[in-house]
């Protein structure tokens, strides 16, 4: 049990690092899919096989279906709609991102080591990984410019929370609800990107444009940032 569980968790951390290092969005999305897959597998290996409840297999399959297949496909769709291929100028460079994620991982491991030893071995293992995955997700949201990469960051954050829940072996409860909430949020997020074809960062949608939304009738195929700014109008 432990060896497989450990392998899955190691793969999880590796995906975090790969995510920090990759500039191609398609690659990022594949990593997200891989994480979904790993999340689905984890409940099956965290306990010895005989202890696994048959229902768990179904839950895992559904999980893999949503997180490993559906959401990534949606992301790819959004990517194609928004017509972005790679993150060109992130706020934090890729090598530095790797170092940063590594540092976050180190901190999470330290935090994990500070906790009192829990009853179940799986928790001790999953805790630091879950924590560092959450931090990685937040870091991605902060360090990247493109809306779609930020959506990926939220997804990773949410994966971390789910991992936390799995590690603590909470079947139902607050964590799961939080996870679902974040899932819905990401869904809306991604749909937004796809519908409005946001291929740039959010900061281009500034408050002035939002103020004018009231008397703004949607032009047919105009993308959100193509709106004229007040300065241009004045001319």
């Amino acid at each position: 049990m432990t060896a497989w569980c450990e392998a899955v968790l190691a793969a999880f951390l590796l995906t975090d690092i790969m995510l920090a290092a990759s500039s191609r969005l398609l690659h990022c999305i594949r990593i997200v899919a891989a994480q979904g897959l790993l999340l689905g597998i984890l409940p099956l290996v965290i306990r010895s096989w005989s202890e696994v409840h048959p229902d768990q297999i179904w839950i895992s399959l559904v999980n893999i279906g949503i997180k490993g297949v559906a959401l990534p496909l949606l992301l790819i769709l959004a990517m194609k709609q928004a017509n972005v291929r790679r993150e060109l100028e992130p706020f934090v460079g890729y090598s530095l991102s790797v170092v940063a994620v590594l540092g976050l991982t180190g901190i999470s491991f330290w935090v994990g080591a500070q906790l009192p030893p829990p009853v179940e071995a799986g928790v001790r293992l999953a805790m630091p990984v879950a924590f560092s995955t959450m931090l990685t997700g937040l870091f991605m949201v902060m360090a990247r410019r493109k809306a779609i990469t930020q959506a990926i960051g939220f997804l990773i954050f949410e994966n971390g929370i789910t991992l936390f829940g799995t590690g603590l072996m909470i079947e139902y409860g607050l964590v799961v609800e939080l996870g679902i909430l974040l899932d819905v949020f990401v869904l809306v997020f991604v749909m937004g990107i796809a519908l409005f074809q946001i291929n740039q960062e959010f900061e281009h949608i500034d408050a002035d444009k939002l103020n004018r939304l009231g008397d703004w009738s949607a032009p047919d195929e105009e993308d959100a940032e193509a709106l004229p700014t007040p300065a241009e109008e004045g001319r």
Partner: protein, 625 residues
């Protein structure tokens, strides 16, 4: 014998100043006095030597004496035809500087120490400002004197007001750190080292800045209960200094500036060593403590010899080429082969590569870090060891890169400017002194295990036992392997150039350059281009400045590209700070009105204020007047 040495140095200085009209007398007496004084001091040093010597000072005195003599002999050639008129000043202050430096290591009381420390700063200021016609030099000299005095201010505060061990240590780290060149306190090094005459740079970089550590070890780190604090502080400063120093060295185009930044790196390595020493003692890791201290003390000697050799070599290069800008040199190896080979070997040594001496100390500090990794325990110690391991490894790679750049740009390829094409080998004294230092460092490689076995100062108690045996064995192994490497290389070279039949030994042809018959110097990689991938990769830290004129139009006329790297500490910390100070000073300038009665008013007001202060605050403690 120390008194005799000081007498000789003093007399030397006196005669040199007295006969400053006649350069030959001044030079002769000055040089002889330095050497004779050093010999006398060495005799005294030898007489004091007991087994085990158990004192820290010896490790700091040897570099002073060796580099004083080396610099003096090198100066004979270096000053010839350059500023001979002021030879009296030079030799006078040179003698005083050496005497003051040696005195610092022998001072018995804080007062003596401070006086000699200040004398050392002032005399070396005169030496830094030797070529005073140049504005650059004067600017550097002023920065140096400001740093010296700022440091002295902190030291006075430390000696007379520092109460608790922590306060003493913090003040000492700032005060001595300004001499050592800890990160952010380092700003004078890259200014003063290029400005000073090469022998002076060698003396300062190889011996004087290390004296900061002497002060730190002697006066600031006596409280056993604070060892963890000492260790963490020095390790932190060391890691930043090592990495940052080498990174900025990488981006320099001036040879001596590159060497100055690499001195910051070397001081960082020493700080790491001492830090491990203290931290190991504090956390009960005997191996870490011993390897750290041993590595740091060994690095002290090695750095003095190698960096001295490199700065003196840079002086020879300056005299041979007439410039220190690496992008304007090239091809010197053919014109000055001896200087070139010696410089390259010294450079390899300071990159920490075997079989040269620099590897020994780096190796010991690696062992200290590995000792931190192998002994399970505290999370912080473990993380720090890991960080040091990685940073040292990266810095090793960067150092190799920077020194390859220096050697490559100066000595290899074709000359990049007409002056470089007319370069010539330097005079005998300038040629042989770096070579002699290299030989000394080779001897040190062979004898390092004895230095540690018999000379290791009983600083942290444990000088015997299993760790000591491991350390000595490792050093012997490294010595043997260095010998083996030299032997193997020699066998290979003999085979290649003696045993291979003459008909196949090799003929000479133009460089194969993809079909170009006559590769010109303009096609060569310059030093800046050589390190550009690395400086680009670390652009986030280095923040290179670029001035370029892009080729435009269908028939572009001229274009240019220039990239240079400014000191991070100066640019982001000190410039804003000093600008703010200047603004403040400008504001206060209002007081200087020119009316005498206003000045008197100001004086009276000050007196009144002081009286009030005295009444109000000292009344309680001493019962008033």
């Amino acid at each position: 014998m120390d008194g005799v040495a000081w007498g000789i140095w003093g007399m030397g200085a006196f005669v040199a100043f007295l006969f400053s009209r006649s350069s030959s007398i001044a030079t002769g007496t000055g040089c002889v006095a330095v050497c004779a004084g050093a010999l006398a001091a060495l005799a005294g040093w030898g007489a004091r030597l007991t087994f085990p010597p158990c004192e820290v000072a010896g490790f700091f005195q040897l570099p002073i004496l060796v580099l004083a003599v080396a610099g003096a002999i090198h100066s004979l050639g270096y000053l010839k035809g350059h500023g001979e008129k002021r030879a009296g000043t030079y030799w006078g202050f040179y003698n005083i500087t050496v005497a003051a430096m040696y005195g610092v290591t022998l001072a018995g009381s804080p007062f003596q120490f401070l006086v000699l420390w200040e004398l050392m700063g002032l005399a070396s200021f005169a030496l830094v400002a030797f070529e005073r016609e140049s504005k650059e030099v004067m600017r550097a000299a002023w920065i140096y004197i400001v740093a010296c005095h700022a440091g002295a201010a902190f030291l006075i505060a430390m000696f007379f007001f520092g109460g608790t061990p922590t306060a003493v240590f913090v003040l000492g780290v700032i005060g001595f750190g300004l001499k050592i060149g800890f990160p952010l306190l380092h700003v004078w090094l890259p200014e003063a080292h290029p400005a000073a005459p090469a022998p002076v740079s060698a003396l300062m970089s190889g011996a004087m800045i290390q004296l900061g550590f002497y002060g730190l070890l002697t006066y600031c780190t006596w409280s056993l209960s604070e060892y963890a604090l000492y260790g963490w502080t020095l390790l932190g400063l060391g890691v930043i200094g090592t990495f940052g120093g080498m990174l900025f060295a990488l981006g320099q185009t001036n040879l001596k500036k590159l060497l100055a930044y690499s001195s910051i790196e070397n001081m960082g390595v020493m700080a790491i060593g001492f830090g491990f020493g203290f931290l190991g003692s504090a956390s009960g890791n005997a191996g870490m403590s011993l390897f750290g201290f041993a590595g740091a003390f060994l690095h002290l000697l090695i750095h003095a010899l190698l960096k001295g050799g490199l700065f003196l070599g840079a002086g020879s290069i300056l005299r041979a080429e007439g410039t220190l800008e690496m992008d304007r040199m090239g091809g010197l190896l053919k014109r000055a082969p001896f200087t070139g080979w010696v410089f390259a070997m010294n450079a390899a040594g300071l990159s920490g590569l075997p079989p040269f001496a620099g590897f020994l100390s780096e190796f010991l500090i690696y062992l200290a870090a590995l000792a931190g990794l192998t002994a399970p325990g505290h999370y912080g110690v473990f993380a720090m060891s890991l960080a040091v391991l990685i940073v040292l490894a990266l810095t090793g790679g960067l150092a190799a890169s920077a020194y390859v750049k220096a050697v490559g740009a100066v000595f290899l390829g074709e000359p990049r400017s007409p002056e470089a094409a007319e370069a010539h080998e330097v005079t005998a004294s300038m040629k042989w002194v770096p070579g002699a230092l290299l030989i000394l460092s080779a001897l040190l490689t062979a004898g390092a295990s004895w230095v540690i076995e018999y000379g290791f100062p009983a600083y942290c108690g444990n000088t015997a036992g299993r760790e000591m045996a491991v350390c000595i064995a490792a050093l012997r192994y490294v010595g043997v392997f260095s010998g083996l490497l030299i032997l193997l290389a020699a066998i290979g070279l003999v085979w290649r150039f003696r045993l291979v039949p003459r008909s196949r030994r090799g003929r000479v042809a133009p460089t194969w350059d993809c079909g170009y018959r006559n590769p010109s110097a303009r096609m060569e990689y310059t030093g800046t281009a050589f390190t550009q991938p690395l400086t680009d990769f670390f652009a986030g830290v280095l923040r290179p400045r670029v001035a370029e004129e892009k080729p435009e139009g269908d028939f572009p006329r001229k274009s240019s590209f220039e990239e240079w790297i400014e000191d991070g500490g100066v640019r982001f910390l000190w410039q804003p700070v000093f600008r703010a100070l200047a603004y403040l000073a400008h504001r206060i300038h209002v007081l200087q009105s020119g009316y005498l009665h206003l000045y008197i008013l100001a004086m009276v007001l000050t007196l009144l204020a002081m009286l009030l202060w005295a009444f109000l605050f000292s009344a309680g403690t001493e019962g008033g007047f």
